[in-house]
């Protein structure tokens, strides 16, 4: 036990720390994690993992299987973010008692609607001979059809027998076929087979002694990654026939999935996760200071960025990096009020291109970024810089230290400090603060033209705002310059590739996978012109994506990994402090 623990410590030390929070600190312990890799990139793979459905996936499956008019009427327990992604957290959480209580509420609500008189004729494949009695044949047909979609595989004999028996027991006790079916279906909806995505492995006939994901698990990995939904009938069929295991069969499915409009949903889900938009759920701005910013504005701000991203990366199939410089976006009238742009159309979305030199450039200057990473009543270059590093460059900014003397910071109520820059400069004279703030503030300050809700401004408390800044040695004068620096930063694309892979497999990449991502996937992404759908294709048609390596190879729980190789190099060379 002791030994294992010591090893865990090593891994953590190797994978963390952008720079310590002291002036003397630096990422000194950066022994390369890949040096410990026994597997080469060509044999890369990782363990199968059990993931809890996310809220969106749960909702999507119910809508796909029973129609979008079904209401849930319950609450989801919060998804948990690990290593930058809820998708990774989903592979680490279980279900609490309070959470299961809510799943049970939703399961009963859904089952009641599916079996009610209005819907049963359209949703259920058969009707019982006698509605007041059990009908095993009809229950079996119904539950095996629905069960295949809910469990993302055919039910085992024991499973279907058990469900049919419970439907019969309920029908007898409650003197109603539909009441029995309802109870049995509700049970299916709270069962772990539905709530968790279990990944099943089987012997790989093409490689002796090796294992692979079984067909249904492959189908689920594909559909949750590309569509954020459960596998459809066609994918399940390809799993059933084994087609999914052949290169030709897999390509056929991937072609179909990438051409589907559902790819947009999948892309949206990935960026919603990566950009931490779940935090909008609790984002509030001070209504007295910012009356324009309300719940609706928060929703539309997310939607603006997601529309921009999906249009740019999927519809236009354009270079991912240009998201940080593009002036093209979509607006509503409400958002127009925040950006001070007149929007004629009273409702809905209109395409819009911000003028050159108007201050707006790229998604970093959109409300969704500057408002999400601000305090309720004021901006925070520190929070914005931290988000830029952690969310978009996959670096870890260290926490502020304990027991620090904040004497200098006390001076911030001094009326001569009018701008945030002046207040932050006050920190910078304090050695303990300087180390950390140097990592975050220089890039955050370039966004100071955008107030806490994203409105454009040129002065603060009557003093002109200086938006000059720096990102890892690249200096710039304003937000557009920052966007260009992010566009050109090697960490930007490398971070995306690593995040997408991690999102697709639902866990931190193993050392062998990291090697493969670095030496293969990142290179291909560049060769392909940084096209996101092509990156998805490279991943789902690779052997690595489906290769199962037993958990022994899995690195120990390391919370702070996820920093890119490029960032690691910058630290080693001392460029990043």
């Amino acid at each position: 036990m002791k030994l294992v623990f010591a090893k865990a410590g090593l891994f953590v030390a190797a994978a963390v720390a952008l720079a310590a929070c002291s002036p003397a600190g630096g990422g000194k312990e950066n022994a390369s994690a890949s040096a410990t890799t026994a597997m080469t990139a060509s044999q890369a793979g990782g363990p199968a993992i059990m993931r809890r459905l996310t809220q969106e996936q749960y909702e999507q499956i119910i809508a796909d299987v029973f129609g979008s008019t079904i209401t849930l009427g319950g609450r989801f327990e919060p998804d948990v973010r690990e290593n930058g992604l809820l998708a990774v957290g989903s592979g680490q959480v279980s279900v609490t008692a309070a959470g299961l209580e809510q799943y049970d509420v939703m399961a009963r609500n859904v089952a009641a609607q599916v079996t009610d008189e209005k819907r049963r004729a359209t949703l259920l494949p058969c009707a019982p001979k006698d509605a007041k009695a059990a009908d095993d044949a009809c229950a079996r047909e119904t539950l095996s059809k629905v069960g295949r979609l809910l469990y993302r595989r055919p039910l085992t004999q024991a499973e279907i027998d058990g469900r049919v028996a419970k439907a019969a027991e309920g029908a007898v006790k409650l003197k109603s076929y539909y009441a029995g079916l309802e109870a049995s279906l509700a049970g299916m909806l709270v069962s772990p087979q539905f709530l968790f995505r279990e990944e099943l492995v089987e012997a790989d006939p093409s490689r002796k002694g090796m294992t692979r994901l079984n067909g249904y698990t492959k189908a689920a990995r594909l559909s949750f990654f590309l569509w954020n939904a459960g596998p459809d009938d066609e994918l399940l069929r390809a799993a059933e026939t084994g087609e999914i295991h052949t290169a030709k069969g897999l390509t056929k499915q991937v072609d179909r999935m990438l051409a589907s409009p559902r790819l947009k949903e999948g892309t949206r889900a990935f960026f919603t996760d990566m950009l931490e938009f779940d935090r909008f759920g609790t984002l509030a701005k001070d209504a007295a200071i910012y009356p324009k910013f309300n719940f609706k504005a928060a929703q539309e701000a997310q939607e603006q960025t997601l529309r921009t991203i999906v249009d740019h990366t999927v519809t236009q199939n354009a270079d991912y990096r240009d998201l940080f410089t593009t002036r093209k976006t979509y607006l509503t009238r409400l958002l127009g009020a925040i950006y001070r742009v007149p929007v004629d159309q009273p409702t809905g979305w209109v395409p819009y291109e911000f003028p050159e030199n108007g201050g707006q450039a790229g998604i970093l200057t959109q409300v969704s970024f500057v408002a999400l990473h601000s305090h309720p009543g004021r901006t925070s270059p520190t929070l914005r810089g931290k988000a830029l590093r952690e969310v978009l460059l996959c670096q870890k900014v260290p926490d502020p230290p304990g027991n620090v003397d904040f004497k200098i910071v006390q001076e911030t109520s001094n009326p001569s400090f009018k701008t945030v820059r002046q207040r932050l400069n006050a920190h910078a004279t304090e050695a303990m603060c300087k180390g950390c703030h140097k990592i975050t503030d220089p890039m955050g300050l370039a966004l100071e033209n955008f107030d806490t809700i994203g409105g454009y401004r040129t002065n603060e408390n009557g003093a002109p705002i200086d938006t000059s800044g720096e990102l890892d040695g690249i200096k710039f004068n304003d937000a557009a310059g920052l966007g260009k620096a992010v566009h050109d930063h090697p960490g930007t694309t490398s971070c995306l590739v690593n995040r997408v892979y991690s999102y697709a497999v639902g866990r931190v990449a193993t050392p062998s996978e990291k090697d493969w991502v670095k030496t293969n996937l990142e290179k291909r992404f560049a060769e392909d012109g940084y096209k996101v759908p092509q990156l998805f294709r490279r991943i789902v048609t690779s052997d690595t994506f489906f290769r199962v390596i037993p958990p022994a190879e899995k690195p120990p729980a390391e919370k702070l990994a996820g920093k890119t190789a490029a960032a690691e190099k910058l630290i080693q060379t001392g460029e990043l402090k």
Partner: protein, 449 residues
């Protein structure tokens, strides 16, 4: 309660048996404590079951303004605790409590409560599977009630909870009084004082369906690695709890004399605006008090807001948290006036929760008398994230098991001493608690009645 009666009470027998030294012994519920209609229970409310509550807030209080000047009983109530004045006789204040790091770097606003409530400070990047105090206690006293525990927060964010069974099971908080009301007092609520009781056949069917899911456990677990298997086990722990909940619904509940049905609460706005947080905590505390009086649970946890205390005053650009760091200490006053404003509000909110319990009359006492409400923050001085002298308090008498109204000062002791004492008072068979320098086997015996 009459002081001169010498009749047999459970409490007196306990005291006599243990010489007042320890109260971790289970005692049979003797019939002589009950009269024919069960009102004796309510009349001597020390015999109703004990209740545990935790109440957490971030950013602490102002050092020097919340610690009494004298030790033991009869202290003068310090200035920042004035909102708790009416609880003075059952308010025990712990000062000097410390969380030791053992060289691990602290995570601001997290390390303090981790140490206090789980007895363990994790290494950075390592996930610690230590359960929180309330879970250890609910395992002891909460298994026979409909809800093992109830969690609420005023922040509007269900993630703001400190109740955890393990790293992968963090009990989410209720954020809406209306949702909490529906959960406790919705259609599934069974009035313990109702004359008639018929078990619902639908509930029987549901319970049978849930049991059949348990039967598939072995088949599911066989394909899983050890970490996933542990997560599946936790799912089944939750499933058992749901089955237990239904089992309780199928039995005629024991009458609870003080049980009344609360009205539907008003719809509220949730969020970090401090008045909204106060209002939501107040409404939910009231619902919890009703739930306790009706025997629905025996454990509850309130998190005033997030651990960083990001609450804000309307129209102010800085949050409580920002103010604790940035506001200068007024030299004349000797404290940070704008940050301190929040301390008063938060202590007022704590008083709201305690009042909700005291408002429930049970015999000649109140629900608060049988409760141990542990209030704790996470830092001794938010400005510098200090882990020394973290404010901790206990309100309530825990059914006569503890002596209230004292000031207990620690001299560099780990804060886990409070947690261990509380566990023992609540009947958890623990003789030591905590890891590394937070491990302790010493309790505060002066607290015990």
């Amino acid at each position: 309660m009459s002081a001169v009666t010498r009749a047999a009470t459970r409490r007196r027998i306990l005291q006599g048996m243990m010489g007042g030294a320890a109260v971790t012994v289970g005692l049979p519920f003797l019939d002589c404590f009950l009269n024919g209609n069960g009102t004796a229970l309510a009349a001597t409310n020390a015999q109703l079951p004990v209740v545990f509550g935790s109440w957490f807030w971030g950013c602490g209080l102002t050092p020097g303004r919340w610690e009494p000047q004298s030790l033991g009983a009869g202290y003068k109530l310090p200035v920042e605790l004035q909102k708790l004045a009416s609880f003075r006789d059952q308010l025990t204040i712990f000062s000097g409590m410390k969380v030791f790091m053992d060289g691990k770097p602290p995570t601001p606003h997290q390390t303090g409560h981790q140490g206090i409530l789980t007895g363990h400070v994790p290494k950075p990047g390592v996930k610690a599977d230590y359960a929180s105090l309330d879970v250890l206690i609910s395992d002891q006293i909460g298994t026979k009630t409909r809800f093992r525990s109830l969690e609420v927060t005023g922040s509007g964010n269900a993630r703001d909870t400190l109740s955890r069974r393990s790293a992968s099971v963090q009990n989410p908080s209720e954020v809406s009084p209306m949702a909490l009301y529906n959960r406790i007092f919705g259609p599934e609520f069974k009035d313990p004082n109702a004359a008639a009781f018929t078990p619902d056949p639908k509930v029987m069917v549901r319970k049978s369906v849930l049991s059949s899911i348990s039967e598939e456990r072995a088949a599911l677990a066989k394909n899983l690695g050890s970490a996933d298997k542990a997560r599946l086990d936790q799912y089944f722990t939750s499933l058992r709890q749901l089955e237990n909940q239904l089992e309780i619904e199928l039995q005629k509940p024991a009458p609870m004399a003080a049980c009344t049905h609360p009205g539907k609460p008003e719809e509220t706005v949730q969020g970090l605006e401090v008045n909204a947080a106060v209002k939501n905590v107040k409404l939910m505390s009231d619902l919890i008090a009703h739930a306790l009086a009706c025997g629905q649970t025996r454990v509850f946890n309130v998190a005033f807001a997030d651990a960083t205390s990001s609450v804000r005053k309307p129209g102010e650009t800085a949050t409580h948290h920002i103010l604790t760091h940035e506001e200068a200490i007024d030299e004349k006053l000797g404290y940070q006036p704008r940050a301190q404003w929040f301390n008063d509000i938060i202590m007022g909110s704590l008083a709201d929760t305690a009042s909700a319990l005291r408002n429930v009359r049970e015999g000649d006492g109140t629900l608060l008398d049988r409760t141990l409400l542990l209030a704790t923050s996470e830092t001794g001085f938010a400005k510098i994230h200090s882990l020394e002298n973290i404010p901790m308090m206990i309100i309530g008498k825990a059914g006569g098991r503890i002596k209230g109204g004292q000031h207990i000062q620690a001299k560099g002791d780990p804060a886990t001493r409070v947690g261990l004492t509380v566990q023992q008072v609540m009947g958890v068979p623990a003789s030591s608690w905590g890891t590394e320098s937070l491990e302790t086997s010493k309790t505060f015996t002066e607290l015990l009645a």
